[in-house]
Symmetry: C2
Amino acid sequence: MKKFFSAALLCAALIGHAQKNDSIMLKKISDEVLKNGECYTNLYQLCTTIGHRLSGSPQAAAAVEWGYQLMKSYNFDTVYLQECWVPHWVRGDKQVGKIIHSKMIGEKEVSICALGGSVPTPVGGLTAEIVEVKSFDELKKLGTAGVKGKIVFYNYPFDVTKINTGEAYGDAVKYRWRGPSEAAKYGAVASVVRSMTTAMQDFPHTGGMGYNDSVPNKIPCCAISTNGAELLSALLAKDKQLKFHMEMNCQTLPDVKSYNVVGELRGSQFPDEIITVGGHLDSWDVGDGAHDDGAGCVQSIEVLRIFKALGIQPKRTIRAVLFMNEENGGKGADKYLELAIKNKEKHLLAIESDAGGFSPRGFGLTMSEEQKKKVKGWSPLFIPYGVYDFDHAGGGADINDLKTIGCALMGLRPDSQRYFDLHHTIADTFDKVNERELKLGAGAMAMMIWLVSEYGL
Amino acid sequence: MKKFFSAALLCAALIGHAQKNDSIMLKKISDEVLKNGECYTNLYQLCTTIGHRLSGSPQAAAAVEWGYQLMKSYNFDTVYLQECWVPHWVRGDKQVGKIIHSKMIGEKEVSICALGGSVPTPVGGLTAEIVEVKSFDELKKLGTAGVKGKIVFYNYPFDVTKINTGEAYGDAVKYRWRGPSEAAKYGAVASVVRSMTTAMQDFPHTGGMGYNDSVPNKIPCCAISTNGAELLSALLAKDKQLKFHMEMNCQTLPDVKSYNVVGELRGSQFPDEIITVGGHLDSWDVGDGAHDDGAGCVQSIEVLRIFKALGIQPKRTIRAVLFMNEENGGKGADKYLELAIKNKEKHLLAIESDAGGFSPRGFGLTMSEEQKKKVKGWSPLFIPYGVYDFDHAGGGADINDLKTIGCALMGLRPDSQRYFDLHHTIADTFDKVNERELKLGAGAMAMMIWLVSEYGL
């Protein structure tokens, strides 16, 4: 019994010692990023010299070159590109939305933007009666009789009571994604969706949509600002014959060759075990793509920079990946998985930062229970950095499919309150990013990656 | 033994039931503030129709009237003013700072602002050699020989490695507060202090200072922007005979009558037990005083509004207090304590929100160990709202002295990363406040107050 206690005490002492050493290393990482971090100035470069960078655009090509050169300049062990072919949708120069009263008074212009992937309207635009629905159930009830020849207006507001705004987005985004084809099923000629935000704003939020292949007619679709949606709804309540005019000349051009950008620090003890940290390099073609997802890109590069600056040779291989084409196709993610399978790579963990460069509050975990237990065992180490939430699932659009090859997934969980004020809009610009918040997010990922690199998963 | 287990089970079930009911009430509070909260529009009114409101100014008087009318409009049980006399310092219309090279090239104007309470420079300004110190120790070493007749430049940067920026402020602010008199001890003719922020900016941060009565000569003092401080330091390194010119015509006028504004919901069971929730109504005379501390004022009013909207009659009396003169005197806080003592009031708890209207992350606690244990027992109820940090001391400048009459103290702890980018500057304007973050802070305080009102402390 005495022996047992001695062993237990020794064990506790060792664990205590290990945790103390770990906390010293985490503090070093935190100090390095807060004192010398370069992610904020790197983001400034990306946002101000390139700006937004939709897949297939010249700016996306420039961003690939920027990411490659930047990682080269840091002397990571390997820096390379992964070729992929991406869709090339362009917005065009016409985006006009007008509310037309049935009886009088001329027209009221409202701010709309084409959803990414939308077909254009006929030249000169289309004008039709508009019908408001709050749900697909309401749409179904209207049926062909109520919808045919009309424009469907999805006016489903964000649920403001959800504390994490990402959940409200997850709840509402089906109307943006599936709305056009659902409306087309009943003969609608176009669709308009309320912007995906809790904020009352005058500018619309773009974003991806997907035509359902089983619905033959593809109809043009746009988002309307939340203030525009409120106005439209109020006018519709008074005038059921209200018409809406929309004109857009967006189009889809042939696919374009593009790339993921990958930088690697080679593991010293288990080089074949790969830890991926990434964000996506493409953005929507509005604003700077600063939070979505310039932030995730520069944070991922910063993780490797921190390791190099501190002279840490990781036990496992760490890869920063700037994924191409997250917003409208996921071709970069597909390519990354394809190559991982082809090259028989062993992917231990992938972390994505694609929820904005705000104060980090936790990591979402999608992995085995045993792995979760191990990660949660480290959680006390993160408390001094305000990172406390390990209780949700997580990952990211670019890494989620890596779980099919046994890779554990994490998503950085920043404070979510401001994200959907900016997401996919002209307002997602560099000035909305706070230097310390961005750095703290990079630091939190570097800490987690150091622990996994050191102790496995 | 069996009986014991049955009792224990019953007890656990009752506790579980109570916690479940509590969590339902907390959700109601959260939903109410997120759906119907009025604190954001109230802050908009305060910031845009009144703006900044330094004690003694006409705007401060307007703010008193605004707060009184607003609480009256909510039909709180009682709304009243507490008279107090406050200092009346005015900035004047001259704030000039110039770096003058000893050998050549003319002058470089830099952005400065008088510290609140500073005496003016002579008319036409003063020009003297300037000497940089990083600490009071360095100042002492220079002594009279190195300082007499010169301007002392305190260039002590914020410690960026501190995760909570309030700690960096606490560490650095002594150079703003005590710096002028410390320099005057050695015969300095003026002092300049680096602005209290981690951010590199072109505008200075004002703030209070206090002359030490034991030092007879009061010297004029100002803050210089962080970019200005870097420039001045770099030029000084090359030119030890560098001079600095400053001109300010700030002055202290006779005291002015002003008020705390108090609104009350009367407790149903323990009306004599008072829970105070407050912020300060005055601000510095720059920007809008949006985060500092318009946010705390509208949040405090919102707590009572939430109770009324939900039809909750609190068991204990709840007071929203808009304290006057936190920034440069604390006369409102003094009056509140004086009246509490005079009226033999029993103050159970006071919470202050004076760290910005950002996402709430916790409450700082200054109270007995037993009380802390009780509060921490509630902490799981707060986790769904992102409020997890109950491990620091807390209170607020307006409430701290209430502990002398046995009152427990709490300070709302919002995310601190952005606060000192704005604090006491032209940049502390309404547009820097996020609606949801502000509301969540009010909600967190309402939840805490509901629990204390219900269960005591």
